[in-house]
């Protein structure tokens, strides 16, 4: 579904991604784990068109999308949940969701998807008229995910959904990611919480200072000594 081939991305002067390649197949949950500053978010931003690769190709459904504007990419079915939630805080929950469907025109479909989001996240339904800035961190994360789902993505890019959340909420968020995936959305998940990410993923990549250093099935990586030592707390 998505094939990234040897891309180089610069953040100003910083060479953030070096020769990165990765692949996501339809229906999978793929996770990208790595420390702060390894280039995880940069990779997602490149995929969603917020950054442009200097070199290399990004193929999505066999179409080159690297360097295309974000609007075109969202329209093609890739939706990005940015790091740190970034909800539109003075707008109500409902208005946030409506903006998620900004590029769509099918009123009926939008209505249906909104109902679906409220089903996935019942708390959002209860708070639909509330300004989203007044939601808790976990609720905002759910809203950010719901908003991205409103674009009806085939591929959902999630940037650290567990950031700054209580363990119980993290568990819930990951359950929902699994549900979303079961409903037919492919997921590329960027995480620092390697344990959690590997527990729901099919395959995984490990990124270190802009380079992919390891890849394999989630199970393989969970058992890899290298990963255990560096990301799973050596247990």
């Amino acid at each position: 579904m998505l094939k990234v081939d040897n891309i180089d991305v610069f953040y100003g002067n910083i060479h953030a991604l070096k020769d990165v390649s990765l692949e996501v197949n339809e229906g999978e949950i793929v996770t990208l784990i790595g420390a702060n500053g390894a280039g995880k978010s940069t990779l997602l931003k490149t995929l969603s068109g917020l950054l442009k690769p200097k070199k290399g190709v990004v193929l999505y459904q066999s179409q080159q999308i690297g360097g295309k504007p974000a609007q075109a990419i969202v329209k093609n079915g890739i939706s990005h949940v940015p790091e740190g939630r970034r909800v539109f805080s003075t707008m109500s929950v409902e208005e946030n969701l409506e903006l998620g469907a900004y590029l769509r025109n099918d009123r009926e479909g939008i209505k249906k998807d909104m109902a679906n989001v409220y089903e996935l996240f019942p708390i959002l339904g209860e708070r639909r008229k509330q300004p989203s800035g007044t939601l808790s961190g976990g609720e905002q994360q759910m809203l950010a995910m719901g908003r991205a789902l409103m674009a009806k993505p085939k591929l959902l890019l999630l940037d650290e959904p567990s950031m700054g959340l209580a363990p119980l909420i993290v568990k819930k968020i990951f359950e929902i990611i699994k549900m979303v995936n079961e409903q037919g959305t492919t997921v590329l998940l960027v995480e620092q919480n390697a344990n959690m990410a590997l527990s729901i993923a099919n395959r995984a990549y490990v990124i270190e200072t802009g380079k992919i250093v390891l890849s394999g099935t989630a199970k393989e990586l969970q058992e890899s000594e290298q990963v255990k030592a560096a990301y799973l707390g050596g247990l």
């Binding site: 974000a70 940015p82 003075t90 903006l99 900004y102 908003r147």
Partner: protein
């Protein structure tokens, strides 16, 4: 369809205000002095509301608004005085050229953010002012002599049009997209919203109505001079928007009305005028740190079309 309800309420209200004021003028209660204050009020509301769409809605911190007002003032004056066109045509020309100037300034500068954008817009406004200062065709530093043609009716109709267009923009899908840029530009980008496009559009609409206000202003007095449109004027407009509450159209309008009244009342005490004016500003900001209205609209107080028609 709540939006149209607010629209009708506003239209009826505007008609009533117009009828009452016109009535008072015709029986002679409102003399020329008060009429002049009313026209100034209209001009200031237009300036405030047109800057509101740039700063309050789209979140782009522009502090060069007087520059676009100058463009509107000078070009409408050229149209009426030099080319002999009627005032409405002159106003349209002034507004149109100001919108073009907005596009011209907006396209390169709106990549900048926050403080950098503010400095760039300030610089552009000064450039515009200096250009008028050095063109003899429009009188240079001595200014341009203009016949007084603005009436209360012209000013009022312009205000109503300004408010209707900007309120409609805000409540539309496009307005929502523009607000999302103010709230979080990265998320807005990620939703597939063309943020550059909306920033430029908001900037051009704001410049257009600043130009209209400039045209009304130019024909309200007998002379316009480049010094009138310096950065102090830009700051005056900025004050209306901030005092009213960033993000509130009615707030910007109320602040413009309030400060026009305060400043014309204080005109009788020239020695202490600026001191009292500043004190009023400080007191308001101390007690209402997010402005008179915050981000709320006056309509939401009466529950007409709550939040500008958020439910369809």
């Amino acid at each position: 369809m709540k939006k149209s309800k607010a629209f009708w309420v506003f239209s009826v209200l505007a008609l009533v205000i117009y009828a009452v004021v016109q009535g008072l003028i015709s029986v002679g209660i409102l003399d020329l002095y008060y009429q002049n204050i009313l026209v100034q009020m209209c001009i200031n509301i237009m300036l405030a509301v047109s800057l509101h769409i740039i700063i309050g809605i789209t979140g782009q911190f522009s502090i060069g608004h007087a520059g676009f007002m100058a463009v509107g003032a000078y070009f409408s004056a050229i149209a009426t005085m030099k080319l002999g066109l009627p005032l409405p045509v002159g106003l349209l020309i002034g507004a149109g050229v100001a919108a073009l100037a907005g596009l011209l300034v907006g396209i390169p500068t709106l990549r900048l953010k926050g403080d950098y954008l503010a400095i760039a817009t300030l610089g552009f406004a000064e450039i515009i002012r200096i250009i008028f200062l050095n063109v003899d065709y429009v009188g240079g530093a001595a200014g341009m002599v203009i016949t007084n043609m603005t009436t209360w009716t012209y000013a009022f109709v312009s205000v109503v049009i300004t408010i209707l267009v900007i309120a409609n923009f805000t409540n539309s899908r496009h307005g929502r997209a523009a607000i999302s840029i103010r709230e979080d530009e990265i998320a807005s980008d990620a939703m597939g919203i063309n943020t550059t496009y909306y920033k430029v559009v908001a900037f051009a609409i704001g410049s257009l109505f600043a130009g209209l206000a400039g045209g009304i202003f130019a024909h309200n007095f007998f002379i316009i001079q480049p010094t009138t449109f310096g950065f102090l004027k830009s700051f005056d407009i900025l004050i209306y928007v901030v005092l009213g509450g960033l993000g509130s159209l009615s707030g910007a309008a109320i602040a413009a009305i309030f400060l026009t009244i305060v400043s014309s009342y204080l005109a009788e005490y020239p020695e202490t005028r600026m001191i009292i004016y500043s004190l009023v500003l400080i007191i308001v900001m101390l007690y209402r740190p997010s402005g008179l209205m915050g981000t709320k609209e006056i309509t939401s107080l009466f529950k007409f079309g709550k939040k500008g028609g958020s439910q369809k």
